[in-house]
C-alpha cells in the first residue's frame, strides 16, 4: 500500500516525457507513452486495492505520508495519501477508465498536429485527479481540485485558434475558480474552528472529521455550504453548470475523460469523502437534495432539445450528477458512489461511441446532419445502444441497479419523500427518451450527412481543418474506427452491462460490503437509509424499468416511426422549445449580470476613478508649485527643485517641532 505514490509518478512521467522530449519522438509516440504510463498506474492501483482489501475492515484506512509539504508555525500539512475503499475505488476508476480513453485517443488523435501537447495535458489531468482523490487533507485536495481545473482548461482549449474553444476554456476555468474560492473559504473557516486541515486524526492530533461532534450547527452549515460551492462548480450542478456544455469544444476523448473519469465526479467524491461533516449539517443536506433534484430534471429537459450529439451527452451528465447529489443529500452515499462508478462506464462508452460516429463523418457533430449510421459504423451503433440502455436504466444493464438504488432512496430514506422519488422516476423516463432520440437520429433513418460539405465548411487554418482531423484534401470516405478505438468500446461495453451486478438487493452485496468501512468507520451515525430490498425496492425497480422502456418507445415513435409527429410537436410548443433551446436564458443572464457589468465596472474604475486619483496627486504637486512660484525667491525653472525645496522645508519644520519637544 505504501507504493500508492507510484500511481502519481506514472502519469507524471507520461507528462514529462511528452512535455520535455516529445519533439524527438516518432509521430505516434506521445499517445503510446501516455497510455503505457496509465496502464502502469492502473496496475499499481489494482495492487494497492488488493493490498487494502486483505486488511480487516476496521483497518481499511491508511495514511501514506510522503513528506511534509507545508510546514509553518502552528500548521503542518503533509503530502499525504489516504487509502481506503473509497479512494481506492476512485483510483481504479480514474486509472482504469482513463487508460481505456487514452488508448482510444491514440487512434482518435493519430493525425493531430498537437498530439504531444494533448497527451501531456491528459496526463496532467489524470495526475491532478489522483491527487484529488488520494489527498489526506483539504489543502492537498485543493491542489488536485485546481489541477483538474487547469488541465480541463488546457484541453478544452486544445484547438486554441478557434475563438469558441478559447472562450469555453476561459469560461470553464473561471467558473471552477469561483468554486475554488468557495472551497478555500470553507477551509479557512474549518481551520479556524478545528485547527487542522487533515481529514482524519494522526497520532494524538484529531482530524476535522473527529471534531464534528460538539461544533455549532451554524458553523458546520457555513463550512459545508462553502465546500459545496466547489462541488457544485466542479460537478456542473445548477447554477454553476454553464461551463460543462461549452466544454464540448475540446476533442471528444477529453469530453469522455471529463465526464467519466476525471473532473465532474470530484464533487460527488467530496460529498462522499466529507460525509461526516455533511451529516451534521441538515440545512446543507436540504440544499444538496434540491440542487440535485433541480439539476437532474432541468438538465434532462435540456437534453431533449439539443441538436449536437455531444451536448445531449453533456446535459445527460449534468442530469446524472444531479441524481448522485440527490442520493448524497438523502444520505445514500453508497448509492451515489455506485452510480458514479456505473456512470463512468456507460458515459465513457457513450462519448467514445459518439466519437467514432463523429470521426467517421470527419468531425460532424450535428444530429440533423447524421442519420443512418447503423450500417456505416456498426461498432458505434452497438456501443451507443448498450450505453443508452445502461443510462436509461433497463435491466440487466448497470444503470438499472445503480439508478434504482437512488430512486428507492429518494422515496424511502428518512430525508426522502414521494415528490423526490417521483421526480427521480420521471427523469429516468426522460433520460431514456432523449438519449434514444439522439441514438435514433444518429443511427437510423436516411443518411443526411455530406462529407464534402463537412470538409468545405471547415474555416480551417492553412492545412489545419477546423474540425478535429487533419484530413487529406479529397478524402471524402467514411473514416472507419481503428482497432485501438474499438477495443476500449468493447471493454467499456462489457463493464456497462455487468458493472451494476456488484449490488443487486437480495442477490449480491459486494459493493455495499466493499464501501462499508468508509461509511461506518469510525463514525457512529445511524444511516438514514435502510438496506435496499424487499417489496418496496422491487416495486420501484419494475416501475422504473417500465418508465425507461416507455421513454425509449416514445423516442422510437417520434424519431423513427412517425418523424412528422416530432416536428409537429416542436412547432406546437414553440415557446417551450425556445426556452430549452436558449438553455432557460441562464447563460444570457450571466453574460449580462456578470460579464458585461464587470467589464463596465472595470472600465469605469480604470478610466474614471483611477485617473481621478492620479489627477489628485498631480493637483497636490501643482499647488506646491503655485505656492513656490508665489514666493519667487529662488527660481531655477525646474519643477524638481521646487518640490525638493518644499520637502526640505517640511523636514525643517518637523525637525524644529521635534527638537523643541525633546529639549523641554
Amino acid at each position: 500500500m505504501d507504493l500508492v505514490w507510484l500511481t502519481l509518478l506514472f502519469p507524471l512521467l507520461g507528462f514529462a516525457v511528452n512535455a520535455l522530449l516529445g519533439g524527438r519522438l516518432p509521430r505516434r509516440a506521445p499517445g503510446i507513452v501516455a497510455s503505457l504510463a496509465m496502464l502502469a498506474a492502473f496496475a499499481v492501483a489494482i495492487y494497492v486495492t488488493a493490498d487494502l482489501l486483505a486488511l480487516p475492515h476496521e483497518q481499511q484506512g491508511r495514511d501514506v505520508i510522503l513528506y511534509n509539504w507545508v510546514p509553518v508555525a502552528g500548521l503542518t500539512v503533509p503530502l499525504g495519501l489516504w487509502v481506503d475503499p473509497l479512494s481506492a475505488l476512485m483510483l481504479l476508476i480514474v486509472t482504469g477508465v482513463g487508460f481505456l480513453i487514452f488508448v482510444y485517443a491514440t487512434g482518435y488523435m493519430a493525425d493531430d498536429e498537437g498530439q504531444r501537447r494533448f497527451f501531456a495535458n491528459m496526463s496532467i489531468f489524470v495526475l491532478a485527479m489522483l491527487v484529488l482523490v488520494l489527498a489526506d487533507n483539504f489543502m492537498l485536495l485543493l491542489v488536485g481540485w485546481g489541477g483538474v481545473g487547469f488541465a480541463s482548461y488546457a484541453l478544452i482549449a486544445h484547438y486554441f485558434w478557434r475563438p469558441e474553444a478559447a472562450g469555453a476554456a476561459v469560461k470553464a476555468f473561471v467558473v471552477n475558480t469561483l468554486g475554488d474560492v468557495g472551497m478555500m473559504l470553507g477551509m479557512f473557516l474549518m481551520f479556524r474552528e478545528f485547527g487542522t486541515l487533515q481529514y482524519f486524526g494522526r497520532g494524538t492530533a484529531p482530524g476535522v472529521f473527529d471534531q464534528v461532534a460538539g461544533t455549532g450547527v451554524g458553523t458546520l452549515a457555513a463550512i459545508t455550504l462553502l465546500l459545496l460551492v466547489g462541488a457544485v462548480a466542479k460537478s456542473g450542478q445548477f447554477p454553476l453548470h454553464v461551463w460543462l456544455p461549452d466544454a464540448m469544444a475540446g476533442p471528444t476523448p477529453v469530453s469522455a475523460l471529463i465526464h467519466a473519469a476525471t473532473m465532474v465526479t470530484a464533487g460527488v467524491y467530496l460529498l462522499a469523502r466529507a460525509w461526516p461533516l455533511y451529516e451534521a449539517a441538515p440545512f446543507t443536506l436540504g440544499v444538496i437534495i434540491w440542487l440535485g433534484a433541480i439539476t437532474m430534471v432541468g438538465a434532462a429537459l435540456l437534453g431533449v432539445a439539443q441538436s449536437n450529439i455531444k451536448r445531449v451527452l453533456a446535459y445527460s451528465t449534468i442530469s446524472q450528477l444531479g441524481y448522485m447529489f440527490l442520493a448524497a443529500g438523502v444520505g445514500a452515499y453508497g448509492a451515489a458512489v455506485f452510480h458514479l462508478m456505473t456512470h463512468a462506464f456507460f458515459k465513457a462508452l457513450l462519448f467514445l461511441a459518439a466519437g467514432v460516429a463523429i470521426h467517421a463523418l470527419h468531425g460532424e457533430e450535428e444530429l440533423p446532419r447524421m442519420g443512418g449510421l447503423r450500417r456505416v459504423v456498426p461498432s458505434a451503433w452497438l456501443a451507443f445502444g448498450v450505453g443508452g440502455l445502461a443510462i436509461a436504466g433497463i435491466p440487466p444493464f448497470s444503470g438499472f441497479f445503480s439508478k434504482d438504488e437512488i430512486i428507492w432512496s429518494a422515496f424511502f430514506s428518512a430525508r426522502g419523500n414521494a415528490l423526490l422519488g417521483l421526480l427521480a422516476l420521471l427523469t429516468g423516463g426522460l433520460t431514456a427518451f432523449y438519449v434514444f432520440r439522439a441514438f435514433f437520429l444518429a443511427f437510423y433513418g436516411a443518411a443526411r450527412y455530406n462529407l464534402h460539405a463537412a470538409e468545405g465548411a471547415a474555416p480551417g487554418h492553412g492545412h489545419e481543418p477546423a474540425q478535429e482531423h487533419d484530413d487529406q484534401p479529397g478524402d471524402h470516405a467514411i473514416h472507419a474506427p481503428s482497432f485501438e478505438m474499438k477495443l476500449p468500446l468493447a471493454v467499456l461495453g462489457v463493464l456497462a452491462v455487468v458493472g451494476g451486478w456488484a449490488l443487486i438487493p437480495g442477490l449480491t452485496t459486494l459493493f455495499e460490503e466493499y464501501l462499508e468501512p468508509v461509511f461506518a468507520f469510525p463514525f457512529a451515525y445511524a444511516s438514514p437509509v435502510g438496506h435496499a430490498g424487499g417489496a418496496s425496492y422491487w416495486t420501484v425497480a419494475v416501475v422504473a424499468a417500465l418508465t425507461g422502456l416507455a421513454g425509449i418507445g416514445l423516442a422510437y415513435v417520434l424519431y423513427v416511426a412517425r418523424p412528422a409527429l416530432a416536428t409537429g410537436l416542436a412547432t406546437r410548443f414553440a415557446g417551450a422549445h425556445r426556452l430549452l433551446d436558449r438553455r432557460y436564458y441562464i447563460d444570457a443572464f450571466y453574460d449580462l449580470a456578470f460579464v458585461r457589468s464587470f467589464r463596465a465596472l472595470a472600465r469605469a474604475l480604470s478610466d474614471g476613478f483611477d485617473r481621478l486619483l492620479d489627477d489628485l496627486v498631480d493637483g497636490v504637486a501643482a499647488i506646491f508649485r503655485e505656492a513656490s512660484e508665489a514666493l519667487r525667491e529662488v527660481q531655477t525653472g525646474y519643477v524638481r527643485n521646487y518640490a525638493l525645496m518644499i520637502l526640505g522645508g517640511t523636514v525643517l519644520i518637523f525637525a524644529f517641532v521635534v527638537f523643541r519637544g525633546l529639549v523641554q
Binding site: 509553518v72 472595470a602 483611477d610
Partner: protein, 525 residues
Amino acid sequence: MSGLPILSILVFLPVVAAILCLVLPDRGEGAGPARIVALVASLVALALAILLLIDFPPGAQGLRYEERASWIPAIGASYHLGVDGLNVLLVFLTALLTPVALLASWDAMGRSPRLFSAFLLLLEGTVIGALTALDLVLYFVFWEAMLVPMYLLIATFGGARRGYAALKFFIYTSVGSLLMLVAILYVYFLHSAQNVEVAASFDLADLLATTISPGLQRWLFLAFALAYAIKLPLFPLHTWLPDTYTQAPVTALILATMLVKVGAYSFLRFAIPLFPQASAEILPILAILATIGIVYGGIVSAAQRDMVRLLAFSSLAHLGFIALGLFALDARAIQGSILQMVNHGLSAGALFALVAMIAARVGTFDLAAVGGLARRWPVLTGCFLLAAFSSLGLPGLNGFVGEFLILLGAFRTHPVLATVGTFGVLLAAVYMLRLFVGAMYGPERAPSGAGARASRDLSPRELAALAPLLLLIVWIGVYPAPFLRRTEGAVSQLVTNIAAAREGTPLTIAPPPRDAALTPPEHTR
C-alpha cells in the same frame, strides 16, 4: 564561510562592478564588455547568496552573519548588517533576479549597455543593503539610494514620457521617506534621552528598547507606514506605479519589483517591532486598504489593453495579498507573505520578461493588436502559461502556497477582509487569462512588418533567463518546506514579541488585562 563578510560582499560587489562598468567603453549598439562584466559579477553574487541560503539553518531564530563596524561614532551610527528569517529569502531573490534581468535585457540596453548594466547592479547592491541594514542611518541611506538607479533607468532608458514618470516616481516616494527620517530621528533622541548613561545609537537593537507612549507611537508609526505604504504601494497611494512601470524599460522591472518588497519587508523589520501598540491599533485599518488594493487592482487590471499596465495593476493586487498577510499579525499569514514576496518576484519577473520578449518580436504591448501567437512559439507559450498560472495562484504552483497561508492566517484575525481578499483569486484568474488568452489564443494576429524575429521561438539566452524562475515556480509549489522552514523561527519570534509588547509592561497607559473576564470579580463588603 563564517569568516567571510558575505553580506558586505553581496552589497558591495555589485556596486564595485557597476563602477567598473561605468568606466568600460560602449562599442556601438548593444555591444561592449560591460554587460559581460555585469553578468559575471551578478552570477558570483548569486552563488554567494545561494550558499548563504543553504547555510542558513532552517528554523533558526535570531540574526546570522552579522557584521558590525563603527561608522559615524559622533552620532552613534554604525555599519551593521545581518540576516534572519525575515530577509534571507529576499536577499537570495534579489541576487537571483539580477542576472535574470541582465540576461533578459541583453539586447535591449539601447545606446549604452554600460549604463544599463551599471544601473541594474547599483539597484541590486542598494536593495540588498536596504534589506540587510540593521542600523537606521545605514538603512535610510540604502533606502534612499535605491531610488537613484531606478530613477536613472527610467530617465535614461524609459519610454516617451520618461521625464514625467521618473520625476513622479522620485518625488512621490521621497515624500514618505522624509517623514520616516524625522520619525527615525525622534526615536533616536528619545532613546538617548532615556538612556543617558550609554552612548547614543541608531542601532535597531538599541532603539527597540526605547519606551514610547502609545500616543506618540501612533504618530511615529504613521510616519514609517506612510513611507512603506507609498513604496508597496497601498491603495490609494499607487498612482506612481502604472506610470513608472509603463515608462521604465520593461526588462529592468524584473529587478525593480524588489523595490516594492523592501517596503513590505520594512514593516516587519522596523515599523511593527518599534511601535507594537500603535501597529496593533493601526494595522487593521491598513489591512482594509490592502484588501481594497487586492480587489481594486484586480478589477482595474482586467480593463487594461497595455500588457505592462495590466501587470502593473496585477502587482497592486498581489502586493495587497502580501500586505494583508503582514498586517494580519498571524504567524502563518506572515510566513505566507514572505513566501509570497518571493513568489511575486518569480512570477512577475517571468511575466515582465515574457512580455518584453513578445514585444521584441511583434513590436507592441497592445493586447488589442495581437492574438493567436501560441501557434508561432510553442516554447514561449509553455513558459508564459506556467508563469501566468503561477501568478493567478494555481494550486500546485508557488503562488497558491503563499496566498493560501496568507488568507488562512488572515481569516483568523480579519475574517471579513480575508473573505473579500479570497475573491481576489477569482479576479486574478480573470485578468491573467485576459492577458494570456488574449495574446496567445484565437485567430493569429500581429502588426505587420514585425520582421524576421517574429517567427523565432525563445533563444537559448532567453530560455536561460526564464529557466531558474520557472524551476522555482514549480519547486516552491511542490516542496516549499525548505523555504518556509527558514522563515519560521524569525516569524514566530516576531509574533511572540509583538504579542508580549502589546500585553506588556512598557506602557504609560496600561490596557486592561485581556483575561480580565476570566478572573472572578472580588466582592467588597
